[in-house]
């Protein structure tokens, strides 16, 4: 659910306040204009067919209407100025989020998925994941935003406003989640065929749980002794998968597609397009174009048993 009216953090709360102010003011103006219109339509005596036109005011300015129009213009300008001030105040409030002890996450947008690299002063503790960002509750997060191809926009309505990711430029977004929960995000700038299927999830969890998750993500891929999984691993490393995907702990280290080291721990496949179930994964690998026409992942021409082995191995990557 994407709902700007139920914020889960201070940034979204500021934006909701601005929304309330804007809606209230616009509603007042709208109601005012309509009631004045109704008043002049129904209250004033109308001219009959036989009446002679009133030409008394011709040539001389009408004092009454002129005053009323000036008052309406002044009120409109004041209303607009008020909205601008409210917007500036909101912007300042957004900029004042305390960034003490912030978590740094580099988010890179691609057609059509999100890469998240969790930074750490200690290089061996840096890890990469995709399309599912976990963050600790109550701790500020600095998202560093980049794009690899076209302009995208990151939007998690329950946490913050939209921020564009522009190729060749770096943007930052400051966020804090105060309530644990799972918040859907979406690309908010048209970026090609599958713009609508470029979603992600931000999972806010208590700091201890977050640390456990992060520690798990730092581990290399799980080893599986299952014969089918071993065959799947061999297939992954021996066919086209390895050209674009990385799985830590194996020789697969390409950065063109999502990191799959802990694929099985994620809720969805292909940036929120499919549920992460073995059957969906198999169909996706066999022919991604049937779910996301135009996606850069090619179809995989493998016999059924091999696809099952591949899915078995990917399913073991907890």
């Amino acid at each position: 659910m994407m709902d700007i009216l139920s914020p889960a953090g201070p940034q979204a709360a500021h934006i909701r306040e601005l929304w309330h102010v804007t809606v209230l003011l616009c509603t007042l103006v709208f109601a005012g204009v309509l009631s004045v219109l109704a008043y002049v339509l129904w209250k004033r005596p109308r001219a009959g067919e036989a009446d002679t036109p009133d030409l008394a005011a011709r040539g001389a300015p009408e004092a009454g209407p002129r005053r009323r129009v000036s008052a309406a213009v002044a009120a409109s300008v004041l209303g607009l100025l008020f909205l601008i001030v409210a917007s500036v105040v909101t912007d300042r409030a957004l900029a004042h989020l305390s960034l003490k002890d912030a978590l740094h996450v580099e988010v890179t947008a691609n057609q059509w998925w999100w890469e998240a690299r969790y930074d750490d002063p200690q290089a061996s503790r840096v890890f990469t994941t995709a399309n599912e960002l976990h963050i600790p509750v109550g701790r500020p997060v600095i998202f560093t935003l980049r794009s690899n191809d076209v302009i995208h926009s990151l939007w998690v309505p329950q946490l913050a406003g939209k921020k564009d990711l522009i190729p060749g430029r770096t943007a930052t977004l400051h966020v804090r989640a105060d309530q644990a929960g799972s918040y859907r995000g979406q690309c908010a700038e048209f970026c090609g065929f599958q713009h609508a299927f470029m979603a992600f999830t931000v999972v806010a969890k208590p700091p201890a749980e977050y640390e456990a998750w992060a520690e798990h993500q730092r581990q290399p891929a799980a080893e599986s002794g299952d014969a089918r999984a071993v065959r799947g691993r061999e297939l992954f490393l021996g066919t086209s998968c390895v050209m674009c995907h990385a799985v830590q702990g194996t020789s697969a280290s390409a950065r063109r597609g999502p990191d799959l080291t802990h694929l099985a721990s994620r809720e969805t496949l292909a940036a929120g397009t499919l549920p992460n179930k073995p059957d969906a994964l198999k169909q996706w690998i066999r022919n991604p174009q049937q779910f996301k026409p135009g996606v850069n992942m090619p179809a995989t021409n493998l016999p059924d048993s091999d696809l099952d082995a591949l899915v078995a191995w990917l399913g073991s990557l907890q």
Binding site: G238, S240, M243, R286, Q289, N301, L302, P303, D306
Partner: protein, 191 residues
């Protein structure tokens, strides 16, 4: 009236000629799925240890249809970077550790089929074999792009821009080279 009809006819012919330019296939052929040749090294064109050598290794099973397809050419350009061709042949194909692809000289042939086999099978002195690693339709896209580097494809289909700053002329402005099959005489690639 006659002039108008003629103008319309010319416009129609021109429009029809552009139809196939960016044709894009969302359903790649799903032929008989066969177990791929396993490769245990990134250098050797090869097969699983102990397996019988394939009789015709990495021969294409589909036809080359993307020579003048703008979509395939720009996809080839993307893959040239993604699959690290640029690391040895340089961005724009000027050559570095690997021989240049933008000149007239070809060691293993300039025909699309020759280029396909060079990519799929690998070549001595460092060209890895990508046969089991790159799907055939993508190899054909790379072939088309490699040919565009020396001006072999139509200028209205070849890429005209790059995502990053480029030191080379865009592919659609390259002069058409006349391919010659010989070893390069720079001494670096003819060992």
């Amino acid at each position: 009236m006659k002039k108008l009809a003629l103008a319309l006819a010319v416009a129609l012919v021109l429009a029809l000629a552009a139809c196939e330019r960016e044709k894009r296939d969302f359903e790649p052929p799903q032929g008989n799925a066969t177990a791929p040749t396993q490769r245990n090294s990134t250098i050797q064109p090869g097969q699983a240890i102990g397996a019988a050598p394939p009789s015709a290794p990495a021969m294409p099973t589909t036809a080359y249809t993307v020579e003048n397809n703008a979509f395939a050419l720009s996809q080839g350009k993307r893959l040239y970077r993604w699959y690290n061709c640029a690391a040895c042949h340089a961005p724009g194909g000027g050559g570095d550790w690997g021989p240049p692809l933008s000149d007239a000289t070809w060691i293993y042939g300039a025909e699309p089929q020759n280029i396909f086999l060079s990519i799929a099978q690998g070549r001595p002195n460092g060209m890895p074999s990508f046969g089991s690693h790159i799907p055939e339709d993508q190899i054909w896209q790379l072939v088309a792009y490699v040919r565009s580097l020396s001006g072999q494809v139509r200028a209205d289909a070849a890429p005209s821009r790059a995502d990053a700053i480029s030191a080379n002329k865009p592919e659609n402005r390259r002069e058409k080279e006349t391919p010659v099959i010989r070893l390069p005489n720079d001494g670096a690639h003819n060992k």
